[in-house]
């Protein structure tokens, strides 16, 4: 159902016209932020007592 709604809403658009496209957009954003914040936080944590 969700997929059908997403497809209808995007009819004629130039974006990636599938629900999987939207999922991948946010999945990418989530993974980027996780890796980025994780690496920064780890670097700080590992060195904060020096």
């Amino acid at each position: 159902m969700t997929e059908v709604v997403a497809l209808l809403l995007q009819e004629g658009s130039t974006g990636d016209p599938t629900a999987i496209g939207i999922f991948r957009f946010f999945a990418a954003f989530f993974i980027i932020m996780t890796l980025y914040i994780g690496a920064f936080a780890f670097t700080y944590w590992i060195s904060k007592d020096e």
């Binding site: 709604v5 997403a6 809403l9 995007q10 658009s13 130039t14 974006g15 990636d16 016209p17 999987i20 496209g21 939207i22 991948r24 999945a27 990418a28 954003f29 993974i31 980027i32 890796l35 980025y36 690496a39 920064f40 670097t43 700080y44 590992i46 060195s47």
Partner: protein
């Protein structure tokens, strides 16, 4: 030689590349900018004898050394993923840019060697400070050169020039394609701005958690120093960005239309929103900080309050969308979408007025602030909300980086019919389109 066609389940191979590159860029930009900011701070510490600069430079250099491996590992993983997931495309790219990639690799190596040496001999060269500062700047130079090499490749992918790859001018015309210089300028300035805001945000966080008076003073100063870099370089960006977009419009008009006027125009609405948040938060911080000038500057402060008002006015002009088709990809389309124009939302003249006004007010307010800085501030008295403003700037600058990265890459998709890896030349399915490609000989010699 068999060439595989690997697919990544669930997220797809495009997301794999996007994640690796975007995360790498967030680290790489930090490292390039931080080395140069730290070297400049060390130099200022040497000249002014103010201990804050030295402490800051050394801490930042140490963090860069620790973080370097994360950025480098992502770069290597990205190349591996590109070779594996897009082997045909990477092969074509190597044919054009082998020497550029090779130079980049050696610049990267030079940067690693000098950055580690720079940090390692900090005490050993304590009495030869000038030489030590040079180490920092040389490391920064290597980083900038590596960035320049990869900018040539990235800009080529969006704006490939008319060139015969068999001709003697192939290297120069490919390297110096239409958007290479503006992209490089955009990223050069962006390095400083990004690092500045991150430093300011980090300082804000540490200031709020500090329990000792000397720490509060130091982190208050650090927030101020970071914001000078962050905001000072940010207000140059619109004019450089304009030059970059002009290059895209002239060489790849359909890509320009997609990101500026088409269904992906929302990326620039987001950019305007991020700019609004950063400029207003920074200006409000400056207004607040002027209260703590050692030599009272009440008149300057009143002027800066006026500047904050004008800044709000100009930045709001930038945020207003052109029509009610906000984000068509997720159905955020109201009324008649593209046919319903919003007053004050058009690019000309309103967004030009907004952007130019924002820059002029930005220059004005930072000039006032630097004028007050000359006489110094009482450190450690900043309010809680001013530090929160710094943290907001740091979060927003990361969102800006991600938005801009997505924008440049999605511009090549145009209407997805087909989407391109090299604009008009190689599709997302790694097929060459010689009829539209301005580059001759991309498919290689027939001999």
């Amino acid at each position: 030689m068999p060439i595989g066609d690997l697919q990544i389940p669930i997220i797809g191979k495009n997301v794999v590349i996007a994640v690796l590159v975007q995360t790498h860029i967030l680290f790489a930009t930090f490292i390039i900018g931080a080395v140069l900011v730290a070297a400049t701070s060390e130099y200022l510490g040497m000249v002014t004898k103010q201990p804050n600069y030295e402490r800051f430079a050394r801490s930042l250099a140490r963090f860069v050394v620790l973080l370097f491996a994360s950025g480098a590992a992502l770069a290597i993983t990205f190349v591996l993923a590109l070779v594996t997931l897009f082997p045909v495309f990477f092969s074509y790219l190597q044919n054009i840019f082998f020497w550029v990639f090779l130079v980049e690799a050696f610049m990267f190596l030079g940067q690693i060697i000098i950055v580690y040496a720079w940090y390692n001999v900090w005490d050993k060269l304590a009495y030869r400070k000038s030489l030590h500062v040079v180490f920092g700047f040389v490391a920064g130079f290597f980083g900038l050169m590596a960035m320049t090499m990869i900018d040539a490749v990235a800009s080529f992918m969006l704006t490939p020039p008319e060139v015969d790859l068999a001709s003697s001018e192939a290297v120069a015309r490919s390297f110096l394609n239409q958007t290479m210089v503006p992209l490089n300028m955009h990223r050069f300035v962006g390095n400083f701005s990004y690092v500045g805001f991150l430093v300011a945000g980090w300082a804000g966080l540490r200031y709020l958690r500090a329990t000792r008076e000397d720490d509060r003073e130091y982190y208050d100063w650090m927030g101020h120093w970071g914001l000078i870099w962050g905001f000072g370089f940010l207000i140059i960006q619109p004019v450089i960005g304009y030059g970059y977009l002009k290059g895209i419009r002239e060489t790849s008009p359909a890509a320009f239309n997609t990101i500026m006027l088409g269904d992906k125009a929302w990326v620039f609405n987001f950019l305007a929103l991020w700019l609004t948040i950063m400029t207003l938060a920074s200006t409000a911080y400056f207004v607040h900080k002027l209260r703590f000038a050692v030599k009272p500057v009440e008149f300057l402060r009143k002027l800066s309050v006026g500047a904050l008002g004008f800044m709000a006015l100009f930045t709001v002009l930038n945020v207003i969308p052109a029509n009610t088709s906000f984000i068509p990809q997720i159905g955020l389309v109201f009324l008649e979408g593209e046919n319903t124009q919003i007053p004050l939302g058009s690019m000309y003249p309103w967004k030009y007025i907004g952007l130019i006004g924002m820059m002029l007010v930005g220059f004005f307010v930072i000039t006032l602030y630097l004028r007050a800085t000359a006489t110094g501030f009482h450190w450690g008295r900043a309010s809680r909300w001013s530090q929160l403003a710094l943290i907001v700037c740091a979060v927003t600058v990361v969102l800006t980086m991600v938005t801009m990265g997505y924008t440049r890459e999605t511009a090549r998709r145009v209407d997805n019919n087909p989407a391109y890896l090299i604009y008009n030349c190689i599709t997302l399915e790694q097929e060459i389109t010689p009829s539209t490609c301005p580059v001759e000989g991309l498919e290689g010699s027939s001999e």
